[in-house]
């Protein structure tokens, strides 16, 4: 098996879980991403989304201005 990269299909009512692996020592069970890993991930996601918003907002505002001109015209 290869490591799951995206959220997997979940049964109804099930919550998504990703990033786990089974440790060879049965004692340890399933290992999951630690807080440092999760912090890095969410900061990257936040940066990407905010960058997209920063790109889109002026375009939306520009279009809004143009539309007002047409509407008022």
């Amino acid at each position: 098996t290869t490591t799951v990269t995206g959220p997997q299909e979940q049964e109804k009512g099930e919550q998504p879980e990703t990033g786990g692996c089974t440790h060879a020592m049965e004692e340890m069970g399933v290992l999951c991403p630690n807080g440092c890993e999760l912090k890095t991930m969410i900061q990257k996601q936040e940066k990407n989304v905010k960058t997209s918003i920063g790109e889109l907002r002026p375009q939306v505002n520009e279009l809004a201005r143009e539309s007002n001109n047409i509407f008022n015209y």
Binding site: Q15, P16, C32, V49
Partner: protein
Amino acid sequence: TRSEKCATEKEWPFCTDDEWGPKCPSGCRIQGLMEKYDHDLLKKVEKIRSLLDQNRAKHRSAQ
């Protein structure tokens, strides 16, 4: 109970409000939620991009 359906799962008592902090969710669960929410946000971003394109096309035809 869930334990009847699934012997390998364990039943835990409900958390009290002050247990959030000393006790925390699974890292797999948090990564799963992070990916789900991020996926939802990226879909919204894509929708806005396509709405922008549609509106620009309309404008060109309207002008």
